[in-house]
Symmetry: C2
Subunit: 395 residues, 2 copies
C-alpha cells in the first residue's frame, strides 16, 4: 500500500534509464489535497546534496504538492550544475502536475559526484506523471531501491475521535510510507529516503512535531555502519482527505509506528550483514548518555566483527563504553548478550559459552546502573560481504 | 637495540607459558641508573585495565626502576582479583630486583576479562630477572608481541651540548624504544604498549613534556580502526647514564622521532590491512579542526572499503568531512588522492581514473581552505581479512 494507502495520494514508479540496468529508477508521489501540509527531516551532514538543499528550502512554508525521487544518482557534490538539475527536476514535475515548483520536494540517491543524465530524468518525470494512480505506491517504493533486496513499505491506521484504533482505510485515517536504504545497504551512497503520507487532517506544525519525535527514536537510532549520507531525507505529507482531525498523541504514535517499522526493515535488509543487533542501554543518567553509549557500541568495528563470528566478546562492549563521557562506574557495569549476563560489576559474569549467537537477532543490553534513562540503537554486524559490497561498488 | 640502546638499561624476554603457543610472553626492562626519572601516557579509555591503574599510580612521583610486561592476557575487566594480580606482578619484580614495588610499572596485553595464570607469571618474572642483559632489548620487544608479525624497535641519538646531532651510542645520548600492537593488529585487545628508554640526564618534568608532545602527534594520530584499548601505555625511562644533559628541544625532537618511527611501524604491520593510509588535512582553521576532520575520514568504513577496492571515492571523503563541526565551506573543499585532485570546490575535479591506488601507500589530502593549520592521521583500509581476524580471535 505504501504511500497510496492514505486517501488523497497518487504515485508511480517508472524506468527512466538513469540506471544502466534498466530497473525502475524514478518515482512520483502526489498529494491531491484538499490539504497540502508537509514536514521534513534532512541529513545533518554538512555536505548536502543539491536535492536536499532544494527540498529544505521549499519545505519552509510547511506545504508540498508532490515529491519527485530518483535512484541511480545522488546529485551530491555536483556543484552549481547539480543545483540547477535539482531545480529542473522540481520544475519539470510542477509543469506536468500543474503546480508550482516550490511545492515539489526532490530526493535523489546513487553515486556521489556524478551528474544526472537530465534528458532521461525529465522524460522519466513526464512518463511517471502519466502513470500516476491510487495504486501506485508499490511501484514508487520499487523505483527508489538501489541495492535494497526488497522494497519497504508500512501502514498504520487511526480512528475518528470517538472510537479506538483500527486497521484498514475507511472512515478513520491512515499513515503510510515507503523507505529505501540504510548504512550497509547502499554502498557508496548510503542514502536513506523515506516518504510518509497521511489522509488525516493535520496542520504543518503538528506534522512537524510528530515527525521529529518519531525520527528521533527510530531512523536516527539506526546506525548500521556509522556513516552519514549527504542525501538522507524523511518527508511526511498530509492530504486531509479523510476529513478526520486525529488526537495529536494518537497521530504521533501512528507516525512513530510506521517509522519504527520502516527503520527495522532497513536494518533487516542491510546487504552484507548477517545479524541484526539491538543495543539496549538502560540505567543511564540521561537519555543522551544512553544514546551516546549505544552509538559507541554500535560503531565498534571490533565488537561488530566478534558478533559476526558469534563470539559474545563483552570486553569489546566495555571498551566501547569506556570511550564515552557518560555517567558510569567502570566497576559497576553489567552486560547481557542474548539474555545471558556475561559481565557483572565490570568483570566476567555468566560463562560466555551459555550465549547462543547462532540466529540473526542479537540483543546486547548494557546496564550503566546510574539512573533510569534508556535508549535503543539498531545496527548490523561487520562482515567480509560488507567489505566486498563497499569496495567494489563504484569501480 | 630497542630499549637497551641507551646506556644504563638491561632487559630480557622469556616464555612464561602465559600463551598456549609457548611463544615468548614476559619481558622486563630495568633502569640501572644513576637516575630513575620516568614519564608515562595511558589510554584515555575510562574502562582501564588493572595494570594501567597500578602504573598510573606509581608513576605519580616521576620515577621508575623497572617495567614488567606480559602478552597473552590483558588483565582488564578482571575485578578486584585483577588489581591484586597487577600488584603481585610489581611486587614479584621488585623482590627479584631488590627495589620497591612502587618503582615498578606493569603492562599487560591479551584477551580482556580473563584472569592471568599467576603461577606462571611469577615464575616467568623470576626467569626474566635471571636473564637480564644489556643486549636484552630485542628479546623484550619479541616477548610483548601478540599478533604482531614483526617486533618493532627504534633508536635516535643526540650529541653533547657542544656538537650537532649524531648517530650511535657513544659520548652523546640515545633514545631507544620498543612497541607492540595497533588497532587492527591485535584483535580482541588492540593494545598498544610502548617502552622508551634514554641515557640522557633529563628530569621527570622534562621527560613528561617531551613524551606528551611526541605522543600527541604520533601514537595519538594512529587511528587504525577507531577502537581504543583498555591497556594502552607509553612509558619513557631516563637513566642519566650518558652523563649528558641535552638541550630540551633537541631531546624532545629525538623522542618525537622514535615515537613517529614506532607509530608508523604499527600502521605498517596492521594485520588484515592491505594499505597504509595517510590522511593529511591542511588549510584548517585550527589544529583541532584538522585532527577532527582527519579522524572522521580515517574512521569512515565506507571510505576504508573503497580504498581497499582501489576506488578513489572522494564522495565518501566529503561525507566524512560533513559529519564534523570543523570550519569549512562545503563548496570550497578540495581532495587529492595520491596527488590527483579528484575533488575541487566540493565537486568532481581531475578524472578519478588518473589515481593509481595499486600500491600499499595511500595519501588522502584534504584542503579545508579555512586557515593555516594542519594535521596528519594514519590509518589502514578495511578488508575481509580484518573481519576474519577479528571475528575468529577469542572463539
Amino acid at each position: 500500500m505504501s504511500v497510496t494507502a492514505a486517501r488523497g495520494f497518487t504515485a508511480s514508479g517508472v524506468s527512466a534509464g538513469i540506471k544502466d540496468s534498466g530497473a525502475p529508477d524514478l518515482a512520483l508521489v502526489v498529494n491531491r489535497g484538499p490539504s497540502y501540509a508537509a514536514a521534513a527531516v534532512f541529513t545533518s551532514n554538512r555536505v548536502q546534496a543539491a536535492p536536499v538543499r532544494w527540498s529544505r528550502r521549499v519545505i519552509g512554508d510547511g506545504a508540498l504538492a508532490a515529491v519527485v525521487l530518483n535512484s541511480g544518482g545522488a546529485n551530491a557534490c555536483t556543484g552549481p550544475a547539480g543545483e540547477d538539475d535539482a531545480r529542473a527536476m522540481a520544475e519539470r514535475t510542477a509543469r506536468a502536475l500543474r503546480v508550482e515548483a516550490e511545492q515539489v520536494a526532490v530526493c535523489s540517491t546513487g553515486l556521489i559526484g556524478v551528474p544526472l543524465p537530465m534528458g532521461r530524468v525529465t522524460a522519466g518525470i513526464d512518463a511517471a506523471a502519466a502513470e500516476l494512480s491510487e495504486d501506485g505506491g508499490e511501484a514508487a517504493a520499487i523505483a527508489i531501491k538501489t541495492t535494497d533486496s526488497v522494497h519497504k513499505t508500512a501502514v498504520a491506521s487511526g480512528s475518528g475521535p470517538d472510537s479506538g484504533p483500527r486497521s484498514g482505510s475507511g472512515p478513520g485515517w491512515t499513515v503510510g510510507g515507503m523507505a529505501k536504504g540504510a548504512g550497509m545497504l547502499a554502498p557508496g551512497l548510503a542514502t536513506m529516503l523515506v516518504v510518509l503520507t497521511t489522509d488525516a487532517d493535520v496542520s504543518a506544525p503538528t506534522l512537524d512535531s510528530a515527525l521529529r519525535q518519531a525520527v528521533r527514536t527510530t531512523f536516527d537510532r539506526v546506525d548500521s555502519d556509522g556513516c552519514m549520507s549527504t542525501n538522507d531525507t524523511v518527508l511526511l505529507l498530509a492530504s486531509g482527505a479523510s476529513g478526520v482531525r486525529p488526537d495529536p498523541a494518537e497521530f504521533a504514535e501512528a507516525v512513530h509506528g510506521v517509522c519504527l517499522d520502516l527503520a527495522l526493515r532497513l536494518v533487516a535488509d542491510a546487504e552484507g550483514a548477517s545479524k541484526e543487533i539491538e543495543v539496549r542501554v538502560v540505567g543511564a543518567a540521561s537519555e543522551q548518555d544512553a544514546v551516546t553509549v549505544g552509538r559507541s557500541i554500535a560503531r565498534n568495528n571490533l565488537l561488530k566483527c566478534a558478533l559476526h563470528g558469534e563470539d559474545p566478546n563483552w570486553g569489546r562492549v566495555l571498551s566501547a563504553i569506556g570511550t564515552t563521557s557518560a555517567v558510569f562506574d567502570p566497576d559497576r557495569l553489567d552486560v547481557s548478550i542474548n539474555g545471558v549476563r556475561v559481565c557483572r560489576d565490570g568483570a566476567a559474569g555468566e560463562p560466555r559459552d551459555k550465549v547462543d549467537l547462532s540466529g540473526r537477532a542479537v540483543t546486547v543490553t548494557v546496564d550503566l546502573r546510574s539512573g533510569d534513562a534508556s535508549a535503543t540503537i539498531w545496527t548490523n554486524d561487520l562482515t567480509a560481504a560488507y567489505v566486498h559490497e563497499n569496495s567494489a561498488y563504484s569501480s
